[in-house]
Symmetry: C2
Subunit: 338 residues, 2 copies
């Protein structure tokens, strides 16, 4: 019988999570019932939102139950099927979780989507042509609504979401300015992705200093800000915000371990008549088809580039996830399972 | 020759303003040119936004120039006219400033509007049927967009804007909860205006305590918040915000003297997928006709009530204005000039 290695969450972190919160478990691959499909997961997606699910606190995502397989997006291949809608060899995207195999039943409509890998690599369906890409698309197109010539700033610019935000902004004729951690990431988003500028936040010890750098990178101010990190970075961008600017609030990773991350000067939201909107892409399923169409076309034609950090083997998932929370990844963080 | 008493701004405050920032000046009433109208001001409107104009700093409002008449809304009567569009005796609304008389030229289109005082008292055009009323209407109708059964909270609830917010929310079938300073103001908005509840923020020393009181007053959470004060009050309301709730950011009077007013937990904007929008009603002139129609009808039929704090004589304007900034007014703050 084939073994299915899984990672379970076995305890909740207080503050910073550790590998001790996770446990490797071996389970048998289940025998299929009528209507079920067995998927072998090729890649597992690691995403910042998973940190929130490790807590028991009320948030937009349901807490991850203890002693169960960590949830998460996966791409893989159908290796056995008792469902006429799927055949062995189909490449599929789903929510397979942190494990090598998963079973999908017929009643879980929409839980598994067959994808075409002729022009788009399978792993991209977890990144630029998946949830992170649509997240970028929604925040940029539906909240920031950039006009040609306007300036869009994005934090965590070299990450799975940030890279897409900047490139989608460029497609719309906007100026794209990134904020990222370290000279390599900054060079990448400017030289490889075509951002107009990128600021290394690690060179700035406070919002005032970062804001001065932003002034240089954004001579006409900031019209739209796509926020992934919060804290000092948000304060700095707000100091450069134009009248009627928009903030798409997608993540605030700097506070995910419970650190206080006050907004220093909320009065700027008033004096600049800003609009700020928090969102979760899974609550806007109506935009996915339109977004995926644009993202897929751009990736297939080489106009939307991305980078992946790939950890090897399910055993590496916890460590890779902790690295993601510390910004050690460079681009989309994946775990390769085969 | 008639004398025109005026109040000039003669210095800018550092921190809290004082009466010394103002000066009483006597000027002659000018002789009219062709096309001009002379208005005798009956009431002068005092509004929190004027505090911002006392500073030299960049803000949405142009700074008030030094050694000139303080700007401000007025209602009055045409006492002399060399413009066929206005006749002596017309009751008019305008931006006459802190003075007894003002002259309007023909080229200042829209600077003077004739109003009907058959069913609406003249002073109401500076309050419920004027800028404060439209401010309430815009933030409530265009940003908060309350549905019947939802809960709307408003701070500075007994003020010119707050009283209208709560009553307009009730007209739309929402639950209206006020936050005000002191038992008299709270009793007024509940007993006279029909708010469902009102919390005296002076009974609470921090956001946690105020938030606990809000929990009781808003058993189903907060769907919309109309913000006039900022600081601890905003923090408290955010702790009770529902998913997809909206904040109309109209004022943050607690920080108008330069006090830091950080927002303690901006991550709530994300976890609750909130929308926050700062606005200035003068930038949304397109809604004024619709808003004034509803506000005028409600006032004329007694369904929109209001209260006025009336200071006597132009000399009293500076002191009354400083009192407004400290919340000493009860309802719309006016200065009666005749």
């Amino acid at each position: 019988m084939t073994t299915n290695k899984q990672i379970h969450l076995v305890s909740r972190p207080s503050g910073e999570p550790t590998t001790g919160n996770f446990k490797l478990v071996e389970a048998p691959v289940p025998t299929l019932q009528d209507g079920q499909v067995l998927v072998r997961n090729h890649f597992l997606s690691l995403d910042p939102y998973m940190r929130g699910r490790m807590n028991d606190a009320k948030s937009y995502a349901q807490p991850q139950p203890l002693n169960e397989v960590m949830g998460g997006g996966t791409v893989g291949e159908v290796v056995e099927s008792r469902n006429p809608a799927f055949k062995v060899g189909d490449k599929v995207v789903g929510m397979g979780g942190w494990q090598q195999y998963h079973v999908v039943s017929a009643e879980q409509r929409g839980a598994l989507r067959v994808v075409d890998t002729t022009h788009i690599p399978l792993s991209a369906y977890l990144g630029a042509v998946g949830m992170p890409g649509v997240t970028a698309w929604y925040g940029l197109v539906k909240i920031i609504e950039p006009k040609a010539g306007q300036t869009v700033v994005v934090s965590a610019a070299s990450g799975a979401v940030g890279t897409a935000v900047g490139q989608l902004a460029k497609v719309r004729g906007a100026r794209a300015v990134g904020i990222a951690g370290g000279p390599d990431k900054c060079a990448y988003v400017v030289n490889e992705l075509g951002f107009d500028a990128c600021i290394d936040y690690k060179q700035h010890k406070d919002a005032k200093s970062l804001s001065a750098a932003l002034k240089e990178a954004c001579p006409d101010g900031v019209d739209g800000y796509f926020e992934n990190v919060g804290g000092m970075v948000l304060d700095a961008v707000m100091l450069r915000a134009n009248a009627f600017s928009r903030i798409a609030l997608c993540g605030m990773i700097s506070g995910y371990n419970g650190e206080p991350i006050p907004m220093a000067a909320p009065q700027l939201l008033l004096t600049n008549r800003m609009r700020l909107e928090g969102f979760i892409v899974s609550e806007h399923m109506e935009v996915w088809p339109e977004a995926l169409k644009e993202l897929g076309t751009l990736v297939a034609t080489g106009k939307l580039k991305y980078r992946e950090s790939v950890a090897q083997g399910i055993e590496a998932a916890p460590e890779a996830f902790l690295g993601l929370l510390k910004g050690r990844n460079f681009g989309k963080q994946l775990v390769k399972l085969i």
